[in-house]
Symmetry: C2
Subunit: 341 residues, 2 copies
DNA sequence: CTGTTAGCGCCTTCAA
DNA sequence: TTGAAGGCGCTAACAG
């Protein structure tokens, strides 16, 4: 920067200004600095800038996994929103464990991010402590804080939080209600990856069936394994083996549902005549399965975009009033009724 | 750090040492520093550390897209390898454009990464210039430099490069040869997302068919659109409409192939009897389609892991001799013959 | 609108 | 094995 300053015949400070906020220097100086900067191939050191200004222009983004399309979409939304504003996402993988999340968060915080985006609301007390101590904006995604009070879940905290997501419970309820409305009597559930969000979906589904007077706990098959097409196929078989009278099935993720559909095709089970199938998330290809899969479209990318926007707003004014003025953004969901139900 | 030093009764310098390289201080001092550090909740500032030591512990990772599972797997491999070593990946999305890549690279370089991982070998001259000027290790992935000379492609450069990947050409050739060996006569091609790697696959396939004396350019359908299940379904129909005698099809990515399979099921076209179908990449679920999809398993995650390892090795010794000693790591591929052929 | 001064928090280097 | 001095490259705060 000193070299550029010398070449342009100004001080280093003016170079800094001319490059970051061109409108604060005279047109003539701006041009000279720009020319010199370009000629010398000057690339400002963000590290030094960060140290001096206490702004790293990075954002910590913690997601459970890179192999789950849901969080990739979230990340894509975050990335495409942050990037044009000059922010660099720092991704951290938590592997669905609150303890691992706390550790990853600590690691990320050492990089002094200007904001934090988390997945879910199920954090360790240690994580809540960390968050409470932060002076940078934090947004929780994929879930909603309890309506009304905007407090974190679990009662271990009175810290207001910003959340962007949709009601997993309501979405699960919608599927259960839909299946019941279709006249199905023996409605089963298959779930994997039992994180809190999955559980909420299941809870919603269960409530819907109870409301319809058709809930049978024996038809619930919940396993901790990561969801996959293979697992869906396997669990479908297991369900039919133990409860051959099942006439409808909610699978808590589309990959499970696709696996189930494949297996139905193999076993010659007509869908939806003999068995109705509903998935969740409306992942790629869901509209093209045979038959096209009924599922719930979730606004994953939009959640990422909105979370990033909230963060940018909070990072812009350095007085973090955002913490006193938390928001709860419900982006909803859509039941996509296709042909498997 | 000064506070910790005071609490431990040592100098700041000793705190720094005790935390980073515990073996360089006395056991007693180490313990005191650790205790004080923990008690005060000290988190060293990586930013300040980076400025002083000229090591940011970050690695720029440039990939074309977050919505292509291939690069997500690559990223996952990179992430899981870098992370335990204390390196933080900085992801950059290039959108499949060499110009955009150059711009993203410039942006990332402002963060002073300690290493760079790129996708492909098709860079702009400007990018090559940038890379040539770097003193940090660089690894190119998903493709291989020309065997023997280890020089970059295109002849615009005499800069030796490190590459980790597999031969896209050979993989495409393997599919073509397989289809021909199955006795198919009218073998078609469907490709989307025409990046250089896709083109190389197509080139290999073409060569195989030529060698078998069965190449018909009329059976090639190449479109620039991003691949998807929907696109596969659509292009299958188009192919059958214009060339109903097609009896085998290579689709350059598994999502296309899955779409084609779905459409075949819809149209009542027996696979593989009437039409053989081969995909590429062995994406999730390929083994579970109906019938199970013949495809090529590509070592995407392993490529990420190996690229990260090479980088770590290169970043460890600060004398970048790695640049004079480039490697070409061929991780191969596997033709997965299943039931669609 | 531009320049001066004084660090940001840590690490390299050297001396003890 | 430990400490002191100095600086990494930039920017906040203020003065002019």
């Amino acid at each position: 920067m000193a070299d550029v300053a010398a070449a342009a015949g100004v001080s280093a400070m003016t170079v800094s200004r001319a490059l970051r906020r061109p409108d604060t220097v005279s047109e003539e100086v701006r041009a000279r600095v720009e020319e010199a900067s370009r000629r010398l191939g000057f690339v400002p050191s963000r590290v030094a800038s960060a140290l001096a200004s206490a702004r790293t222009m990075t954002v910590a983004v913690l997601i459970p996994s890179l192999t789950n399309a849901v969080f990739i979409d979230l990340l894509a939304g975050v990335q495409e929103t942050l990037s044009p504003q000059g922010y660099q996402p720092l991704i951290g993988i938590t592997g669905y464990g609150p303890e691992a999340e706390e550790h990853v968060l600590r690691t990320q915080l050492a990089h002094d991010p200007d904001g934090v985006i988390l997945s879910g609301l199920d954090h360790t007390p240690g994580t809540w402590d960390l968050l409470r101590g932060l002076t940078i904006p934090v947004v929780h995604t994929m879930d909603l804080s309890v309506e009304g009070d905007l407090m974190a879940e679990g009662g271990h905290d009175d810290c207001p939080v910003q959340t962007v997501g949709f009601s997993q419970f309501d979405a699960g309820y919608a599927v259960g209600a839909h299946l019941a409305a279709r006249g199905r009597r023996r409605i089963g559930l298959i779930a994997g990856q039992l994180d809190p969000r999955t559980r909420q979906r299941c809870d919603g589904w269960r409530q819907a069936l109870r409301d319809a007077g058709r809930h049978d706990p024996a038809l619930e098959l919940m396993v901790p394994d990561a969801t996959s097409v293979a697992l869906g196929a396997e669990l479908l078989e297991r369900t039919l083996a133990t409860h051959p009278d099942t006439d409808a099935l909610f699978l808590c993720n589309d990959d499970l549902a696709q696996g189930a559909l494949f297996q139905c095709a193999r076993l010659g089970i007509p869908v939806p005549e003999r068995l109705a199938v509903a998935g969740f998330n409306d992942l790629a290809g869901a509209a093209w399965t045979v038959p096209p899969l009924t599922t719930v479209a979730t606004p994953r990318r939009a959640i990422g975009v909105e979370a990033a926007r909230l963060l940018i707003a909070g990072m812009a004014d350095r007085t973090p009033k955002s913490r006193e003025n938390p928001r709860r953004v419900d982006l909803g969901f859509r039941l996509m009724v296709r042909e498997t139900t």
